[in-house]
C-alpha cells in the first residue's frame, strides 16, 4: 500500500513536469521545470518499487538505480543547458536577468 502511494506521488510529479514541458515559453524554462520534477518523480517511483519488493534482488536493484538516476540526469541537464547557451539560443521575451553572459566572455 505504501508503494502504491509513493508511485502515485511520483506520477503526479511527472504529470506536473510534462505540463511544464508543454506550456512554458522558453528552452531554459522547459528544461528546468521538467528535469527537477521528472527526476524526483522517477526517484519516488523507484522508492515505491523498493518498498514493494523489500530487500530482495529486485529491491536492491531499484535502490542502486536511485543515485544513478539522481546524479546522472542532473549532470546531463546541466551540460545540456550549457551547450544550449553556447549554441546561441536567446532567452524568452519576459526574461529580466542574464548573469551567465558576463561569465562567458
Amino acid at each position: 500500500m505504501v508503494s502504491l502511494i509513493l508511485i502515485s506521488i511520483g506520477i503526479l510529479f511527472n504529470l506536473l513536469g510534462c505540463i511544464g514541458i508543454i506550456r512554458l515559453p522558453d528552452t531554459y524554462n522547459r528544461l528546468q521545470a521538467a528535469t527537477k520534477a521528472v527526476t524526483l518523480g522517477c526517484c519516488s517511483i523507484l522508492l515505491g518499487v523498493v518498498f514493494h519488493f523489500g530487500l530482495s534482488d529486485a529491491g536492491t536493484k531499484a535502490l542502486i538505480a536511485i543515485p544513478i538516476l539522481f546524479f546522472g540526469s542532473t549532470v546531463a541537464a546541466h551540460a545540456l543547458i550549457r551547450g544550449t547557451y553556447h549554441f546561441g539560443i536567446k532567452l524568452g521575451e519576459k526574461s529580466v536577468k542574464d548573469d551567465y553572459k558576463d561569465a562567458v566572455k
Binding site: L4, G10, I11, C42, A62, A65, G72, A76, A77, A79
Partner: protein, 88 residues
Amino acid sequence: MSTWLNILLYVQIGLSGICMYRIIRGPTIPDRMVGADIFGILVVGVCAIISIQTEKSFILDIGIAWIILSFIGTLTLAKYLTGKKLNE
C-alpha cells in the same frame, strides 16, 4: 491494486507521448534534445512499474542500462552543441 497500477502505467506511457510531442514539434534543436532527455528519464519509471506488475527483476536491469545510455547520449549531444560554436 492491480487495476490502479494499470491506470498508473498507462498515464506514465501517455506522459512519454507528451515528450514525443516536444521532440516532433520543437522549434529549435535544443528543444528536441530536452524532449529526448526527459523521455529517457520517464522510460525508467515505466520499467519500474512493469517490474512490479510482472514480479520479475530483470526489467530493472533494463532501466539502469537505459539511465546510463541516456546520460551518455545527452552528454554527447551537449558536447556537439558546444563544439559547433567553436568551429564557426
